[in-house]
């Protein structure tokens, strides 16, 4: 009896051990895959997070510069208006003065005022071009920040799903995490290379 049951038990034990080692092997490989994908997601998240921070910083800095330039533009506009007023006053005075000395003074003042008005107009034009370029840069940074933001969120959800999937051995959750991460990565790429949606 002992001989007849002995081989059966040992066969069963061997089969269980084989199954366990097979399961263990598969599980280890899968765990390695999950770890590998989480590493990739974490690296992509780090880059996206850094790029998102830069894009948001650019929005603030460029908007500050734009505001500053507008204030400069307005200052020039006010100075131009001062010279316009001066011109008007001098033109009125020119009709009333009789002495040649006063007339020549008015003429020289008028010519200086006209020069200043022209200078301010040219400077305003150049500033307007600078402000327009800055505005376009702000828009580009806003576009980047938007897509980096979405990418970051999706990558973080991906890491979370993959990690929980690894912890509770839910392969489907890891796969869901992968989908989130891929979509997130695509959004992040769009932030870098403006693949779609750029105005």
């Amino acid at each position: 009896m002992a001989d007849s049951t002995g081989p059966n038990e040992s066969d069963q034990k061997q089969a269980v051990q084989q199954e366990q080692s097979q399961e263990g092997g598969l599980s280890a490989r899968l765990t390695q895959w999950i770890a590998f994908t989480i590493t990739l997601m974490a690296i992509a998240t780090s880059f996206t997070s850094s790029a998102s921070g830069n894009a948001n910083g650019d929005i603030v800095n460029l908007t500050h510069t734009e505001t500053n330039k507008w204030a400069y533009f307005q200052a020039k506009s006010m100075k131009e208006q001062i010279f316009n007023t001066k011109q008007l006053l001098l033109e009125v005075e020119a009709k009333n003065v009789k002495t040649p000395e006063a007339k020549s003074y008015i003429e020289s003042m008028l010519s200086k005022s006209k020069e200043e008005v022209t200078r301010f107009q040219q400077e305003k034009k150049a500033l307007q071009a600078e402000v327009d370029k800055l505005h376009a840069d702000v828009k580009t940074s806003e576009f980047k920040a938007y897509y980096f933001g979405i990418g970051l969120q999706l990558l973080q959800i991906g890491i979370l799903c993959a990690s929980v999937g690894a912890l509770f051995a839910f392969v489907w959750l890891w796969r869901v995490g992968l989908v989130f991460a891929v979509v997130g990565f695509l959004n992040s790429l769009n932030g870098w290379y403006s693949l779609w949606g750029a105005g």
Binding site: A35, Y72, A75, M78, K79, I82, T99, A102
Partner: protein, 188 residues
């Protein structure tokens, strides 16, 4: 017998010992990286905030400069009108009256010019400081990015006992450390 029992209860081979030492080393590396990254992140926040505050102050300074400049132009306008009135004036009394009005205007013009120069010098000082802070912040940013990736690589290396991954993480961490040191001391 007693020796045999001891050996059986403590069956650690040299390989196991080395492996446990490696894991300890990896854990230590991760901890050191995490601590450096946390401190540097806090310093980077301070640097970025200082840069932002200085930029605001600089903008404020430019507005103040422009206000002085506009007032200067208005005083110049007054001076020019008074100069014309002086030419037109026929009596000595009128000329004296105009000269009385002209004196404070000229005084104001000189004051505004010197104040404008002082404001401009302050703004230029702030500009130099902002440039240094921006450079430091950029170095901290790159260093932190390296550290984040290094921590991930070292952690995964520890989980799967992959020495190569740990070494790669260690290398990346060293690069990150170089950037962070540059963030503190602004060498390059």
């Amino acid at each position: 017998m007693a020796n045999e029992t001891k050996e059986n209860t403590n069956p650690r081979t040299i390989d196991e010992l080395l492996k446990s030492k490696l894991v300890q080393l990896i854990a230590l590396t991760t901890t050191v990286f995490a601590v450096i990254a946390a401190i540097s992140s806090a310093v980077n926040t301070n640097v970025t905030t200082e840069s932002g505050v200085l930029t605001e102050k600089q903008n404020n300074g430019w507005s103040y400069y422009q206000a002085k400049s506009i007032k200067g132009y208005l005083y110049q306008l007054q001076a020019d009108i008074l100069a014309l009135e002086d030419i037109k004036a026929e009596s000595k009394e009128a000329k004296a009256e105009i000269a009385k009005l002209m004196a404070p205007v000229k005084q104001k013009l000189t004051t505004y010019e010197s104040e404008k120069d002082a404001i401009k010098a302050d703004i230029e000082k702030m500009d130099v400081r902002i440039k240094v802070l921006e450079k430091r912040s950029s170095n901290f940013g790159t260093g932190l990015l390296n550290f984040e990736i290094a921590i991930v690589l070292v952690s995964v290396g520890a989980i799967f006992s992959m020495t190569a991954l740990w070494l790669l993480g260690l290398g990346l961490g060293l690069v990150g450390a170089a950037y962070i040191v540059n963030g503190y001391l602004a060498f390059f």
